[in-house]
């Protein structure tokens, strides 16, 4: 749901610029003695920690927000009252709320996430089994999407502006719109139908070898890749129209310097600022992709535990997913801080 930026038409009327000098405005917001980059990274780190705290509180509260008796709901109508009481005590739900919360916190700090209501295994052990699969799947898709989007978006933007290859550019842009409109699980189904059923070329279930990773990674990465490529396309077009690009053209720099040195860093910061969420959103897509391809990761775990109302397991998986998302967010912020000397000002 991006809003198209207002496109200025015609030259702007000449007139003195107003408002306080941007340089001065920047100084006002910068923390003393810290470089803008360092303070930007510190602020983002702080925000990640606050987000983590919100997640911890939310996962704790979720059990309490379930209407009715969560234990009864989890164990089903056939469970004996004794069993319900015993489970309630196991979960600590018979204690006052603040005791429950401190217990939850200290458990987290010791890596103790409780015991699954269904398998009676420690949640942490299950997560340790499942997490690597989801991590690898996410990171592979993350890389494919990020690295694939830039050349496609840049090439179509340059073609669209320059006038050469306009038809091809338009075709690519239509294809991108189409791919964005297809959610990953539908794409997965389509890929299975094509490569698994019709061509019988690739495995369509399980996890292990490289061949088994092809379709899930593709299904997970293609949508974000297309979305990101379109953002890159739009941002690149915007960058190409900026006065500083006119300045660079005025220096008659070769195309290589023009695009790689002058346009690319500015485009990437702009694209990451708007497109960062797309990349982290891909992490959650593993839930659906793992379901389609029957991959034993966190995604299939969370679905089965929600269906079974296995609350300790739900809390654990949500926490791990949130940490993964926050980690990727921080990674993107670091890239932004490295590329953009103004990152501190954009914050203000």
């Amino acid at each position: 749901m991006a809003i198209s930026p207002a496109t200025p038409t015609g030259p702007t009327p000449a007139g003195p610029a107003t408002g306080p000098d941007p340089a001065r405005r920047g100084d006002r917001h910068a923390l003393p003695r810290l470089s803008p980059r360092a303070s930007f990274v510190l602020r983002r780190l702080g925000r990640a920690l606050v987000s983590l705290a919100v997640v911890v509180v939310a996962t704790f509260l979720v059990v309490h927000l379930v209407p009715g008796d969560p234990v009864r709901a989890a164990l089903g109508p056939s469970a004996t009252p004794e069993l319900v009481e015993r489970t309630r005590a196991e979960l600590g739900l018979d204690q006052p709320a603040w005791r429950q919360f401190t217990g939850y916190l200290s458990g987290l700090l010791h890596g103790d996430l409780g015991v699954s209501l269904r398998s009676h295994r420690p949640v942490a052990a299950t997560l340790a089994d499942r997490f690597p699969t989801t991590l690898v799947l996410s990171l592979l898709a993350f890389l494919v999407a990020a690295l694939g989007a830039v050349p496609i978006g840049v090439a179509t933007a340059v073609a669209a502006r320059g006038g050469r290859g306009r038809a091809a550019g338009a075709g690519v842009s239509w294809a991108l719109s189409g791919l964005i409109a297809i959610p990953n699980f539908l794409l997965a189904v389509g890929l299975i139908a094509l490569f698994g059923v019709t061509l019988n070329a690739l495995p369509v279930a399980g996890w292990g070898g490289a061949a088994q990773a092809v379709l899930p990674v593709a299904a997970l990465a293609v949508g974000p890749l297309a979305y990101l490529a379109r953002i890159v396309h739009v941002e690149m077009l915007a960058v190409l129209e900026t006065p500083y690009m006119t300045t660079a053209r005025g220096k008659r720099l070769p195309a290589r310097l023009l695009y790689l040195r002058h346009a690319l860093p500015n485009m990437i910061t702009a694209a990451l600022t708007t497109g960062g969420l797309i990349l982290t959103g891909l992490v959650a897509g593993t839930v659906l992709i793992e379901a389609v391809f029957v991959i034993p990761g966190l995604g299939s775990t969370i679905v089965s535990s929600i269906t079974a109302k296995d609350y300790p397991m739900i809390q654990g998986v949500v926490l791990v997913y949130a940490v993964l998302v926050l980690g990727l967010n921080l990674l993107i912020d670091l890239v932004l801080a490295t590329l953009d000397p103004r990152s501190s000002i954009m914050e203000g």
Partner: protein, 574 residues
Amino acid sequence: MRSGLPRGLRGPQGVVTVLGAFALLLVIVLAPYVWGDAATATSVADRVQGPSAAHPFGTDDLGRDVLARVLIAARLSVLLALGATAVAVSGGIVLGVVATVLPCPLRRLVSAFIDILLSFPWLLLALFFSVIWGATASGAMLAVGFAGVPSIARLTYTLASSVTGRDFVRAARIVGVGPAGVILRHVIPNIAPPMLVNTAAYASTALLSFAGLSFLGLGVQAPGFDWGRLLREGIARIYVNPMAALGPGIAIVLTGLILNAIGSLTGESASKTPLRPRASKARARAGAGDPEVLVEVEDLRVSFPDRQGRLVERVRGVSLTIRPGETVGIVGASGSGKSVTAMAVAGLLGPEAAIDATRLSFQGIDMTAAPRAADRRRLGLELAVVFQDPLTSLNPSLTVGRQLTEVSRTHDGVPRAAARHRARDVLASVGIARPERRARQYPHELSGGMRQRAMIGMGLMGRPRLVIADEPTTALDVTVQRQVLRVLRDARRRTGSAILFISHDIALVSGFCDRVLVMKDGQIVEEVAAARLDEARHPYTRALVACVPHMGTDRTRPLPVIDESGGVAEEARA
């Protein structure tokens, strides 16, 4: 603009969208009556069949027709998506608008909270909420709805804040309009159109999201069925009948596209028609001209496409020459074509500009065509440009030094260290103190005047024969303006470069230039020596001189005013 059909509704895309929306509506309303029996009639004989004439999408494990079930599922799928959209949009708008009107510290807190929620993907939020409300259709609807609240809230907040920061809202507050009045009268009317587009877009997202939840088994439960549920059932039999899985998938994608298209129709933000680049051409005689002439322009015409794509001529037959070392000024009101003329001379007009000229050359190089490699090098070294706003015309992510040295390094093959040395000298020569330090800084760390000096310095890295200065001091304070002009003049004295100076300030031009060209409506109406501006013949020039108050203007009389025809209208009648 307020009458007639929305712009998007015209044209083939609009027609297809309307037809698609109509078809979808028909299916939603009528499907259960038409295909109800086929969707529920079980038949053991017809179990799990592939596509056939009787069952285009095949049958399911109870022998029911999949196509009929897909059509019937439209109603539930779309209604649940719309329900989720309603939850997301109403929640998001309330949260976003409330955040806008809160006092500052609270506002930042709420905004930060929205940002935190926003950093989590919708599916994760939806799963979290579906823990609370359970794996039911209504629970999933609430979950998808609540998962959308942060993004709608952020959008509302961003749009609303951009409105509340505008002068017209300040004006309303000054006359005593309260927060509620500001929101009702100014904020809502201004954010409604983009919100509408995004609501439709969110409906499409909600449809896909809901299908995802149902597909995972967390949405609609048997015996009810929506598209996600049908997909879940279909994928189990994908080797027997792929259409059982692909059918609902196609329905989801098509409906998503229709919802999205409805959004872009209702919005007035229909994207600008892509600009069609036009071939520039010089009508013959592009060869070597007079060596005593630096710039030769003959019958220059430049057109730009307007919103409808029609070409509008903005420069209409301009001819001018610049001799080496001359300072030539162009004055005119905004829209007179003075900047376009200058950019045409520099060869820096965008691809959307259609240039037509009998001659447009700089030192014999034809500026209407892409320059050859050798010419590029000459242009890079000998033609410099200075723009109005030095902040936006310097690259924000490269150091000042880098932007200076690259000219020498690219075109002169100067080694890095020598180029740095030269950059330092040039920065010092344009009056920048501590040039080593400034060269390592980024443009945003410099003051406005210093940036413009650096910009001029960039042109001095080569061997400028012509500096094109397009309103170089308009964005600066008067005292800084004088310093920058001084730098420009000193540079000219040192290098012998000519200057093409564009400005709307006739007094400034008269003092700085040798010769002044007065432009109006894309044409040069008069060319006059700067020292003889008071003897100008053309009524427009005389009017331009007369209408600006100066330090000797008679305070007791009204100012002369330029009338429609371009001359001085009645002087002092009041």
